[in-house]
């Protein structure tokens, strides 16, 4: 993450300076003529790059800017800045909260995937200095944001890693490193999984040379309560298995562990800001590979809950690994609520596109809180139903339930299957009475193009949402 410093007084001439302006606010005299000539009026998203010297990047905040508008302005300004070593933010005209939010936007915009190029392309700035009379107050406002930012960017870092680098073992090692942050990390390997009957996770991971792992991250917090449970799908690469995916677009499947990455990011955020709320993340890590030992359609597997599942499509592996992880989270920790995040279905992309994640669950209050948290951090959700019919479609002749509805069983010639709803109906079978929310983040975990909160690539969707949800709902004294 970009280094962020706070300094009293005006910035020097050396680094380009970001100057955020609300719509209708008068620009400082030095740039007023230029702003007027270029018809810069402070509209949200508007950017005016004045070469200077000193170089000034005017960025519009729109009317009555909230924190999200400020963050987006920070991202837009950073994008306009291009390849510079350092950048400054002039907070003279801003309340400290807004200045902190713009700085957070700069940090989000300055994120880049791990550099694997011999000759790296454009380098974003490494340091941001926030200048102005309110620097100290802005610094105080930035501190809690920094934790959530770190979580989001960790999620992006992990998600960006190619699968030959982020193997199941490497993923587990990266998570173990979070012990330095005050998290307790436990990694369970194949022997442990076999002993505890994690038949679903083991089946999915069986085709790969990298063995499956169950990672458990704990943040003890301060409150004497059982921990909130976060469950993440961590498929480091998803070939589809025996039901192999088409080649086109398959490279994106390295991001099929984005749910687990978001949970890990949220745990880091809680630790960084010393949240009083106890939390635990249970991450199901596996590679869904094609191989001689791979599981097959028609196989019946016994999950950790002892319930049996008939495999219909080996490419619907996410719900299987989540079934075991949800069961473990609920039985081992008795959480007051459990949330799972997963890049689970293509159907949710057809349903909601790339602008909202699908939200399913069993408790209205929890769902409403999750949706509210999402709106606050710019990671919007939309509720989708689990109907009686969706569950009926999962009836199996041989096992307790089918993993999904077979291709060809849908409407209009069999093509149209509400698979996101089916997946949610499947997961619900493993959560019992515990209040539960399921976020299907397929479609929002990465962006094809630069987006409002960062460059093209992984978005870290979910990490900031979970952190905010914890702050909103799980930090009160019992």
């Amino acid at each position: 993450m970009i280094e962020v410093r706070f300094r009293r007084g005006a910035p020097g001439a050396e680094a380009p300076r970001i100057l955020p302006l609300a719509e209708g606010a008068a620009p400082p005299p030095a740039v007023a003529a230029a702003a007027r000539a270029a018809r810069f009026a402070g509209r949200a998203g508007a950017v005016l790059d004045l070469a200077g010297p000193p170089r000034v990047i005017l960025v519009g905040l729109g009317r009555d800017p909230g924190p999200l508008a400020c963050e987006k302005a920070g991202v837009a300004a950073l994008r306009a800045a291009g390849e510079v070593a350092e950048i400054a933010l002039d907070d003279a005209a801003l309340p400290p909260e807004a200045a902190a939010a713009v700085a957070a936007g700069v940090a989000l915009g300055a994120w880049r995937p791990p550099t694997l190029q011999a000759r790296p392309a454009a380098k974003p700035p490494r340091r941001l200095t926030v200048h102005g009379p309110g620097a100290a107050a802005a610094e105080a406002a930035f501190a809690p944001r920094a934790a959530a930012l770190a979580g989001c960017l960790l999620a992006r870092d992990l998600t960006a890693e190619p699968a030959n680098r982020l193997t199941t073992r490497a993923f587990a090692e990266r998570l173990e490193a979070l012990a330095e942050e005050g998290l307790e990390v436990e990694i369970h390997g194949r022997t442990w999984l076999e002993r505890h009957g994690f038949g679903a996770l083991l089946a999915v991971g069986r085709g790969s040379a990298s063995p499956p792992r169950l990672a458990v991250l704990r943040w003890r917090g301060a409150l004497p309560l059982p921990p909130l449970a976060l469950v993440g799908k961590g498929i480091v690469f998803d070939t589809g298995g025996v039901c192999l995916k088409p080649a086109e677009g398959m490279e994106a499947m390295r991001a099929d562990m984005a749910g687990a990455a978001a949970c890990a990011g949220a745990m880091l955020a809680l630790a960084r800001r010393r949240s009083p709320a106890p939390a635990v993340a249970v991450l199901a890590i596996a590679e869904n590979a094609v191989g001689a030992r791979a599981y097959r359609p028609g196989d019946v597997i016994r999950t950790a809950s002892r319930r049996t599942v008939e495999v219909v499509d080996t490419d619907a592996e996410g719900r299987l690994v989540l079934a075991d992880a949800l069961h473990h989270a609920i039985t081992a920790f008795r959480p007051p609520a459990v949330l799972d995040l997963a890049t689970l279905t293509g159907a949710v992309v057809t349903a909601l596109g790339h602008h909202r994640a699908g939200l399913f669950g069993t408790e209205a209050a929890l769902l409403a809180a999750a949706a509210a948290a999402g709106e606050e951090v710019g990671e919007p959700l939309w509720p989708l139903p689990i109907g009686q019919r969706h569950r009926e479609d999962l009836r199996s002749d041989i096992a307790d339930l089918r993993q999904c509805a077979p291709a060809g069983s849908g409407a209009w010639g069999g093509r149209l299957i509400p698979d996101a709803c089916h997946a949610a109906a499947f997961l619900r079978e493993f959560v019992g009475e515990t209040p539960w929310a399921h976020l299907d983040i397929a479609g929002v975990e990465r962006a094809e193009e630069a987006h409002a909160f960062g460059p093209a690539g992984p978005t870290g969707f979910g990490a900031r949402l979970l952190d905010r949800l914890v702050a909103m709902r799980f930090e009160d004294e019992p």
Partner: protein, 491 residues
């Protein structure tokens, strides 16, 4: 289709007797009388069948005595939870059980008169059958049921409660008939012709042909129609039921997509499942049925129903991907996919509706996208709206009649997916959020008026029997929107 009568409780001398029974409740007066007349055969039989009255449970006793051919017991569930929809479902469960009897009596004397009427409604809705093209069906396979008498203490009250329900059921049947008709029979012109039947109910019916629509500038609708030998139509139905003197209000408007067959056009659909595309006019069928329902029960509201009727065919005259058409609103559309034709038809009809009627709100119904089926499945229609009050009212009306709608999002980010390089918009926004971008497309034509869009692609047709709907056309939306009008917009 059986006639329904409400009668004072008295044991029938013959035929079938139906006993709707709540869970763990004693037999009602008429049931007890029957039990005594059969020397306790009924209570013994039900016990032997382990019948407890659980919701969905049923038991049949053959020739229990006293001249009865059969006794059918149907479980109502806990009497405390007995709602109108539960009573309808029980009525629906009765229909197949007595289909082969000529006459049946339902011992509804344990129910309130209104619930007895609901039960009768459910029975009738489920007894619907579209069999006009079966010519070789064996006599013994045909349903025989001619008359069902419901025994209710306050028969007059039940009859009064049933009258409006009966009218709505007729609207449902009309819609199901239209939707079930094959496309070689139900062309746009034929569908328009059938709307004229509504004149008998007091509905004003106006039919516009291609010439009139050309004059109105319906470039989008006509573009879709131009590939077919069957000319398009637009039908405008007016039911002016608001009490005279209070005519200040604007009418409510319902708009239906009526693609009598959708091959996809040049962007042709795969063969598998294409036969289903005869019901791509279900939105129009629903609006026509709704108008019949409202007029049939003399709803005290001014309502207009508009349907755009076209056939989407590939041919030498068909429109092509890449064509740019001008809608009645003046906005231009780049046709990327000729199979996204429903929204083109609706765009022109919506514009006309605003222009002509200045409506209080508009609700459109359309089997619009496959994406909505992938999003929600078959239990919920997708509901999109720019007006939260209207949306909540529609959801509530749907819940009350067992036609569920699920709110879906709209937003600028989705709208951007429709950006065209050559015209004001494309007619598709890609696979992601496909049902949402279709709604965004429609929203560009509503001029900010209160509007709701129901994507009924997943609910217009059912491949399995539902409690009050036999396999086939559901007429989803007729009852929901009738209820919407009844609950909020009648004087």
């Amino acid at each position: 289709m059986p006639d329904i009568a409400f009668v004072k409780p008295a044991l029938p001398r013959a035929g079938a007797l139906v006993l709707p029974l709540a869970e763990e409740a004693p037999l009602g007066p008429l049931a007890k009388q029957a039990d005594e007349a059969t020397g306790g055969a009924i209570s013994r039989g039900l016990e032997a069948a382990k019948f407890t009255g659980r919701k969905g449970q049923s038991a049949t006793l053959w020739a229990p005595g006293a001249g009865l051919t059969k006794v059918v017991a149907v479980g109502l569930g806990k009497s405390a939870d007995l709602s109108a929809t539960a009573a309808e479902a029980a009525g629906g469960a009765i229909a197949p059980a007595i289909a082969k009897e000529r006459e049946a009596m339902v011992a509804a004397d344990t129910l309130t008169p209104v619930l007895a009427a609901s039960l009768a409604l459910g029975l009738r809705l489920r007894a619907y059958r579209f069999d006009r093209y079966r010519t070789t069906e064996k006599e013994e396979d045909k349903p025989k049921l001619e008359r069902v008498a419901l025994a209710v203490a306050d028969a007059a009250h039940a009859k009064a409660a049933f009258a409006p329900m009966q009218a709505v059921a007729e609207g449902v049947f009309l819609a199901r008939d239209l939707v079930s008709e094959p496309a070689n029979v139900l062309t746009p012109a034929e569908c328009a012709e059938r709307c004229k039947a509504l004149e008998k109910l007091g509905v004003e019916v106006e039919i516009l042909g291609p010439k009139e629509m050309k004059k109105l500038g319906f470039g989008a609708l006509l573009g879709v129609a131009q590939g077919s030998a069957n000319e398009p139509r637009m039908v405008v139905m007016k039911w002016m039921g608001a009490p005279k003197g209070k005519k200040a209000g604007k009418p409510l408007a319902f708009i239906g997509k009526g693609v009598t067959f959708d091959t996809g056009g040049i962007s042709i659909k795969p063969a598998q499942g294409m036969e289903d595309m005869k019901w791509d006019m279900a939105g129009a069928g629903t609006v026509i049925g709704l108008m019949a329902a409202l007029a049939g029960r003399k709803a005290k509201a001014d309502v207009v129903g508009l349907v755009g009727l076209v056939e989407n065919m590939p041919s030498g005259t068909a429109q092509r991907p890449g064509d740019v058409v001008k809608t009645a609103s003046g906005q231009t559309v780049e046709v990327i996919n000729t199979d996204a034709e429903g929204r083109l038809v609706l765009a022109d009809v919506i514009h006309y509706c605003i222009d002509k009627f200045d409506p209080r709100f508009m609700v459109d119904l359309a089997t619009l996208t496959g994406a909505i089926i992938i999003a929600l499945g078959h239990e919920h229609a997708g509901l999109f709206s720019n007006d939260d009050t209207l949306a909540q009212r529609i959801e509530a009306a749907g819940r009350a009649v067992g036609e569920a709608a699920w709110r879906m999002p709209l937003g600028e980010a989705y709208d951007k997916q429709l950006k065209s390089d050559i015209a004001d918009m494309k007619n598709v926004g890609g696979r992601p959020g496909g049902a949402i971008t279709a709604a965004q497309f429609l929203q560009r034509f509503v001029q900010g008026r209160p509007w709701a869009h129901l994507d009924i692609a997943g609910t217009a047709w059912t491949t399995k029997d539902l409690p009050t709907v036999p396999k086939g056309a559901t007429a989803f939306g007729v009852r929901m929107l009738d209820r919407l009008v009844a609950d909020h917009y009648e004087a």
